[in-house]
Symmetry: D3
Subunit: 332 residues, 6 copies
């Protein structure tokens, strides 16, 4: 094994050479981060419909925060999601996000009352002009969920269910998307045992247009089931969701589930952000491109990213049998 | 909750304004539909290889109808499928379709005897001209199943199995596609416990070319299994088909399975046809496009479709706690 | 059934006419093949990091052969995989390939020591030139696995696991891809009960760039799980791999698993190579194209391939109730 | 030059071997073709809005034939174009097509009176249902011109202009597409000096939707000019059309221009139909695909087409210094 | 011609029915527009680097307004272009835009001084983090020109040249893009005789990345010339730009050229905005998609847009021989 | 102008900081390059069918070198082009390539004698196996020209014509591609007045399959002309080639033309190779992708390439009014 030892020394030399320049700044960043992670409430994140807290260093927790409206998505929500995730995208300290619903359920979906005033109210006599106006609204609604994808930090949806009777419409049964639009734009989905999922759009007379028909087939890879859910608006309970891969874990209740989601986020945030966020960018690229295109893209991506100090730091931790969370990666 | 009540009134006002113009025509259509649904046999649908009946209002039942040939796909079938589904596409009263096989099995697949005279008989001495001729045949065969996709009404395959010994070729084992080509072009698949599935093409010396290799990987999303099925031509029994998502339900026998499929079709046909058929168009578009392309397409689609009266009708039913089947949607 | 008998005669006539010309050459080929299959060691296949044997007629067995280095992928491996699979692609006698690992495990993944000297050693002062150099390396590494896809013969990965402690880096825990890059480029995956799978790249600070992020989502069709595996680098054990479709069978141990993989290869190799290899080409085409594009492509493909004598030979075997392995298909 | 002579003999041997089998059928075909080319009027082509004549052996001349309506495209035209070109596609004797306008001009474009009754007449109260209906009409209109592309025989547009005052609408100036939709779907465009071109759609309040906006930018490759023409509906005279490449030749008047177009068609029809029609198929494929995709497609196309006897016949003619029109190619 | 008269009456009836509902609102809009067009300075458009005036009703004139810096693109410009064109996109009164440069030249291109501080200043020691930062800048710079494309109103670039000696860098020769990035994102280009064009990026050591390499090849359709311009950074004078189609007209001097551009904008703005803006959306879609995809898209687009009153208004004007500028189209 | 001076100083500081590290290596490279450019014959480039000389520092001149066979492309050529351009791709000293023909013409195209033995000689009785074999040949032939594209250094075709009577086939007229396949794969085309161009494939009975039908339409952007050339095989003389953009300059004779091509290559080679070769990669990417895709790709490309020292060196030269050829860029 002598050759191995020589080789190891050579690797160690390589590592130390690469790391020399960055020792100082690394420490500085670490200190500042420790300081900032002490505070619970995330600064610069103040919204009507959302609440953003700093779950731990590098992890933000976004809650849909209209519990007495069953977290229905209203106009403030459409606007604030874009603002919130744009901020998170630029937040060099944040490395993973958990999104959940405050109160008894994740979200009752789109607030029909708000939608109605946009959609059902004719703007004028001309069909073309009404269409133009509606297309503009739709494009903006779509953006609400697309920002989750555009955000390079992994986003984990932590879904719990609760009762489905919504108060929005005179106490009658709740219409709307039940959040499927939102969660398909997230990277990983955990749910509590009481969660269920519905693609409700056909029941209110429309084809889902803010992401469900577009993303769900790429998420669960069972076209027959996707079609059935979309054509019938039937409920899918947590176990079926696990079986078909819509969620990757089912936990007993909200509390346990949220702990698991936050632990997952913490685990992810301990790794090199260059590696993790580059992984998200390339996974999304691969979803929508051929293998050959995706290989070409990642080669152009990694030709710079492989020059990061994070590789040397990570390899050093592995070779020294240390945990990654003991490593300080610079901000990204 | 006073604000909720005010808001609800506002929604109700919006709804009533949108609905005013359409009350009259809705009723008229409803009456005529009730009349036409009384008759069992679908008018204008007379074929050699198919039998089309009106299962109930808005639901057509297409049966492959050569039971003593084990529903093998012959030349009449190739031609009549196109004719049949083109008619269904234009049938404003039809909102969902079930396709099944008469007799003991769904279909033994392509009738080798018919295929042989097309494929195996050399047309002349020139390879290029033979190729040209074969490409023309293939393109037309492909169209037989593509019409199912082009038809905007959801099509449910109701598959039952039976024995696999076919009579077509002097009593020997049955070659052919076993209908996999056909069912992958359907939107939802239910099967009976006795059903099984085979991609038989390699056993007769060819690569599947009328849709199986093209659609199956997008239907079941497990590339390793798809490859195995296509390379070995092995049977996949009902339970494995459920596990991998090829079918979304397995029922005990043909009768129960057919009832379930027709009930599913009835459920789908109770909803707004604008919503359901727009959903099919967009699900198929999404299968073959990136998420960004699909979001753009649905925005252009829904800028007009959201102006339908069906939304107001559907929402009103939901707010008044009525079933959708009590709502009369105009023909599409 | 008289008509059936007449029809059968017609088919038989067609078949015999098609076969006349090829009887002679078929026999000649068969004899030569029998001769060559007697030898165990595959001629022309001599490598440092691989061992290629002739498992049986038409089946090659490629072993990653650095057992005391836990089959880590070193520079010889990168180069020799390309050479080996290019040879196999042109080998008219080979119809199916099994790839496995010699010794206690399939592969510990990329040999970090070799990678480090390529990646971690700065080539000069200029970032752009270093990037250019890295992109060149990456492109060549990608080719190592892409050759498996480009090879038209089906490739079955036979994976077994063993301990994960690697000796490469001073006895520390093993980094690297654990072969996920490689196996996703194979057509079918079998594994032993002791196998496990990891996408380790984030743990060493990089986004996977030689095929995992590009192919894994198309292989297992469960985006939430793919993301979790890629972001966390957690182990997936054999049973979960079966459940999500990464492998299509789990066998008790290496020996049984290898037997099953070789039996599958033998089964595949008994069928028409025109059919099987055309199936692989078109399945891969379909993975990366829309259904409409794929139907167009297969029509242009099969317009010539349907003129093969293999169809007549296969159909004759089926009609005469003979096994395909009794049929002699010409070399391809 | 001795080596050259030996090589030539080898080529000649190859040629003669390839040709032996086809001598007989070639002659037979030639005789029948000569017979059929004697008749002027094309059999099986009888229409209201079109007149199809056999210009010479292998060349059909399609005339838009409503001269006293300035060849405006009416409902018969939409239907008959599809019927006519589908027939031509299957006509094994036809190898090139010229399309021109009877009387004083090529075509005044879409007959607004016919369009109006389809487009302007509301079908009901529901915007979505009206949209559904309009989309169906549009798709069928588009097909009218797409059949020209789908027809594998080269189609040459022979355009002459005349006055633009149309009688259709109370004697006022003629709206409509002036045939630009149609001619962009043709393969080659010749025009007379008096021809001019207009994309008139914006002047009647709509975006061109039956092919102009889709094909014109791929035909003339000058985006600034295309945009100007489409936004302003201004006339482009023959010389500018030549300069920008919309037409490839301008001839002094209709008679000379038609002669030139027919001579071009005759020239094309003297060549191997396997070569010419394969060229059209691949040129259209290339227009809509990347270079890599197109190279892959043509390789799968030509793997059979290169086995044609037409190559040997063509090469023999070239080596013997004979004109191609002296060669008898079999029907395709 | 009696049938024509009857038909015309039928058309007229159709038209009047369609128009009845919209007469009132049309007038209202017209009055308000007349009022607003009186003011020269466009309200809500106040910038450091741009000046926006209302050239006439429905036409906005955007000037790059740093004449003493030769209109070099600085940080304010990057930010304000996005703001300006987003506003114009939403401005229902604006129907066409002209963009020109204040003072002696259109634009000297990117202000190297501003670029340098972004690009040349290393942000830290880690190559990956510097890359991440640069990619973010690039994406935002790209957006500056993409907003012109996303704006559905036609944008005409009115380019004049002047001397090329720039003052930005100590009086030395001017580097930067000379505005080619910007003008390729416009729909139509007019230039004065003194204009010239350069793709200067290679001269400053980089590959053009804010649109030139991406759009120029789709604008001028002469790949050999595009390559030469991009590899050599040579000047292309006005006449060559006309010859290759980069511009569609060359006018003698700035004044005449600007008049022509504004007249063109006025002409375009007199037409139905539904028609014109739908044309722009579909032309851009067609540029980047196959013909089949584009035909599908325009069918879904026009299924609503064909229901506009603008068609009836336009056709009525045409049949009554009135100019379109006499027609009042509602705002869009 | 005081602010400008301050800003300039800041830029100068940035530049000098960036340049410090690279001064040394730059000089070293420069010296070595000067030495190597003294020798005429390019080392490591020895071929039967090609001759490669070092025209000047950084510029290689590749000549097709079978003048007494009129530079027809034979088997050696197919093989050696791949070898030659793969070497050039990896040659860090080469920055631009000129390709021309030795003797009286550029190339008579494919040597029919060689092609015939590959294409016309039946390999066996089975059409499918013959097809498989032909597809393999075609793919390799295509690679011959694709290597020119894959080579990141700009390749200039310098074409001269001469008589077209070829000696290959018993002194008869020359068939074959006349090099159009080859030159469309080059980046820029110059020709002498005596050059002409033909797409000869249809005259020998086949559809062009090694690049002409795939690349020509993307090179000259006039679909009508491309179709005419491909369907008729007519000659296009130098002036028409200039007019349609196939070549970007026509020079009086071979000598002058070659000088111009070499001067162009020299000009290109004086610029930063990071800029020039990145430009080629991105221009080719843009040809085959949408604008949005291309913008995304270049952003990932340039995030590393913008960190090159070449920018600082180039900008410094520009600010100091020095020619780029006086700057020493490191090897790439």
């Amino acid at each position: 094994m002598a050759a191995g030892i020589v080789a190891s020394r050579r690797l160690r030399d390589l590592l130390s050479r690469r790391l020399t320049a960055s020792n100082y700044s690394g420490v500085g960043i670490s200190l500042r981060l420790t300081g900032s992670s002490a505070q619970e409430e995330a600064p610069d994140h103040s919204y009507e419909s959302l609440r953003v807290t700093s779950a731990q260093k590098h992890v933000l927790h976004v809650q849909i925060n209209r519990p007495n409206k069953r977290n229905a998505m209203n106009k403030a929500f459409w606007r604030e999601m874009v603002e919130c995730f744009n901020k998170i995208s630029r937040d060099a300290d944040c490395r993973a996000v958990v999104i959940s619903g405050a109160g008894k359920m994740f979200s009752a979906g789109i607030d029909l009352m708000h939608l109605a005033s946009d959609i059902l109210q004719p703007k004028g006599d001309d069909v073309a002009r009404n269409s133009w106006y509606l297309r503009d609204i739709l494009t903006r609604y779509q953006e609400t969920f697309s920002v989750i994808e555009k955000c390079p930090k992994p986003v984990i949806a932590a879904i719990h269910g609760g009762e489905s009777v919504a108060v929005l419409l005179l106490g009658s049964t709740c219409p709307g998307g039940r959040g499927v639009n939102l969660i398909t734009a997230c990277d990983i989905r955990y749910c509590a045992q009481d969660a269920f999922f519905q693609v409700k759009e056909v029941d209110v007379g429309l084809a889902a247009d803010v992401g469900t028909l577009q993303r769900l087939p790429k998420v669960i890879g069972n076209q027959s089931l996707v079609n059935e859910l979309a054509f019938t608006a039937r409920k899918m309970m947590a176990d079926e969701a696990l079986g078909c891969g819509l969620v990757s874990r089912v936990l007993p209740d909200k509390e346990v589930m949220l702990d698991a989601a936050l632990a997952l986020a913490a685990e992810i945030s301990s790794k090199s952000p260059v590696a993790v966020q580059g992984t998200k960018v390339n996974l999304l690229y691969s979803r929508d491109h051929s293998v050959a295109e995706s290989l070409n893209y990642v080669a152009s991506w990694n030709m710079s990213m492989l020059q990061t100090q994070d590789i040397a730091k990570s390899v050093q931790a592995v070779t020294e049998n240390k945990e990654l969370k003991s490593v300080t990666f610079s901000k990204l």
